[in-house]
Symmetry: C2
Subunit: 415 residues, 2 copies
């Protein structure tokens, strides 16, 4: 079973928004055994939409469409969808009741004419209830192909996928089992890693595909395979993982399927009943934000102090002013002091601290752009590490966050 | 001139990464007058890549390709690119010298065989130097169409776009002028906004397109137009903006082209020589991270205290314990106290504070999931606002961040 995802909206093609829906849909389809052949983003334009429907129908079994279902005049997907199937729009009392209910319960405003048109649906379509919004999902079948249209608002689309689309696809089709295992490695470049596991790669069975995904100081290694019997697929994969893991032991930190490194760290801290505090200068809140984006962070995270201005390092964190004057604000000594002070302040088991210069210009320090110091404090002591992370602001911050997580993870595993 | 963007890589089609390159490329092309007809993401698979090249060639003038140029075996774009043009790979001494230099200066490891293959390029292609990596860009022309292949690593691709691709396209083609103006509005729903400006929308000249982009408590209104003379296009747009702005005065906060709201706020604070501190509970560092993601934040931002655990609100921020006991940690009183305390702590002109329950489960408070209080403190006083922001964790956080920025912006404009 092959799927084609079509995202509709000028905002994608002028680069005003990043299309995150396709990644979510691709992942969700893969998990139930449907592989995605292609993703196409097209304009809010009748001819183009019709052309993309025809193209997708020719090369895929399932066509998933998002976007262009809003109540305003620039949204034309529903009419074009209807036209493609030579269908006509009819009023759905079920949808109208739902829209009326949403306005009464949540919007607390009278229904506008534009909102009522959301209850017009193609007569031949099966309606999928949108629990989080007013535009319904639509399921249409033709010549053995399935077309599914959903709104582009991410949480509405996700609600429809989880509540209707995925269960209905699983019910209707016999699907294979697709398995991806992604090994997170930190601290070794892509080519060096490839050279180290060359023999392993050459000996991989043809049914298993290996990919390298390098990004900001880490490389993800993905093994993918597929089959009809879950047990067999799992066993085939396990054999290869057992061969691969010893080769990369020193750089391997965990499987991405268990969540990103911050989630792995969170689970390790909870399991050990340990707590964490953070002091951030150059990373500006990006580390704490990575932890708090996940539910359950309150189980181990006391808090973070983002001391962006030099003065706040002394006045809020209590770093010794003389230390900053002697060694400069971007130094191993200040990174150590920040880690130590924030651990004391929040009274935690671990603390990480960053100080550096992410650029584009030098700040309150003579340290060159890209200089980053990371401090790690425990109840036993404190140490700092020095890095040069390039001159690209966004990447300096991203690499510093990844490196801080990696160092913290190593520290936790020592105990 | 129409462009087709093709992003190559299984990681996109299994949903492992979000394709952010296409949005960047679309925006950059739009700015020089090239509109993007379609974005297609395809697998690392020979037949599929060849098919997508042929399809794009049939409907576009410029085909921009990213991904699949790495040194490892799963990267096949270069060979397939070569095959499409019936070309052969030859060694480029220029690229080999560049790769050798990068390894000597930055990687500080001997060159591996895999890295040397990066110097193999199609004989008919013009080579575009990749300042930030080892895989070169390639420019190929055929039947009046231009194909450009770049690596998928975002900062390498951006370096190539800015350094080579955009200037070369501008040099080679007479391009029109495309103008987008996006008005940021906060606090009014999409349908209500559409109803309010209905007459304006109906009277818009056919050359101007209006789009609504709702997201997390705000709606962006985008006006787009195009023409050959910049002055005429600017004037036509200006007339419509003058008609539209008075209609939405109460919800309009600025133009997105001037940057997101946090950048607008930063500029306002700098212009007024004012400073900002932040205390975050439920937003967990997302507010400070929005500010520090932009260069220049150190000009107005003192810092932020992320007090995730209840205890850190009293011990780190100095919020009165009795206040929390009486009113609960999620309350207007605590939001006010947090804002006041953090403003004192960092000694700033403004402070914002958030406390709430983003879910999925209740924390140290009986407040239902979705409850958010936002406190704003100035040198004159402090106040708090109460919101219910739904039950979806990520959205509660996103809406709370947007609302806090909106309230702060209003407060700043009062002076």
């Amino acid at each position: 079973m092959k799927a084609h995802i079509i995202t509709i909206g000028d905002e994608i093609l002028i680069g005003q928004i990043v299309d995150t829906n396709s990644a979510y849909i691709s992942k969700a389809l893969n998990e139930i055994g449907i592989s995605v052949y292609q993703i196409s983003s097209v304009q809010d334009e009748r001819d183009h939409i019709l052309e993309s429907f025809a193209f997708a129908k020719a090369n895929s079994d399932i066509i998933i469409i998002t976007g262009g279902l809003g109540p305003t005049k620039d949204d034309i997907t529903k009419h074009t969808f209807c036209e493609f199937f030579n269908d006509e729009l009819v009023l759905s009392q079920e949808v109208l009741d739902h829209v009326t209910h949403i306005f009464k319960a949540y919007v607390k405003r009278p229904l506008l004419e534009a909102n009522k048109t959301q209850a017009l649906v193609p007569s031949k379509a099966t309606i999928l209830t949108n629990r989080f919004g007013t535009a319904p999902g639509m399921w249409m079948e033709q010549d053995g192909k399935v077309f599914i249209s959903m709104p582009g608002v991410p949480h509405e689309m996700k609600g429809l996928m989880e509540g209707s689309v995925l269960p209905k696809l699983q019910e209707q089709f016999e699907l294979p089992y697709i398995l991806h295992k992604t090994l997170l490695t930190y601290g070794m470049g892509e080519s060096a890693l490839a050279q180290r596991i060359e023999t392993f790669e050459d000996e991989l069975p043809a049914t298993i595909k290996l990919a390298y995904l390098p990004s900001l100081g880490r490389v993800r290694l993905r093994l993918s395979t597929t089959g009809t019997h879950k047990e067999e697929v799992d066993a085939t994969m396990q054999i290869q993982l057992e061969k691969l893991k010893p080769l990369i032991e020193d750089v391997f930190v965990g499987f991405e399927e268990k969540g990103p490194l911050e989630v792995i760290i969170g689970n390790e801290l909870v399991a050990r009943s340990k707590t964490l505090a953070i002091a951030e200068s150059c990373t500006g809140g990006s580390i704490v934000q990575r932890f708090t984006a996940n539910p359950g962070a309150s189980g181990y995270l006391a808090g973070s102090t983002v001391t962006y201005a030099t003065r706040s390092k002394t006045e809020v964190l209590g770093v010794d002013e003389a230390l900053i004057e002697t060694h400069s604000v971007v130094s191993a000594q200040v990174a150590e002091a920040m880690a130590k002070q924030v651990r004391d302040l929040y009274d935690t088991d671990y603390a990480i601290a960053t100080t550096g210069n992410a650029g584009p210009t030098k700040g309150d320090s003579e340290a060159p752009v890209g200089t980053v110091y990371i401090g790690i404090a425990t109840r036993e002591g404190v140490k700092a590490y020095h890095f040069m992370m390039g001159t690209h602001r966004e990447r300096v911050i991203g690499k510093a966050v990844n490196k801080a997580l990696e160092l913290l993870h190593e520290e936790i595993l020592k105990n």
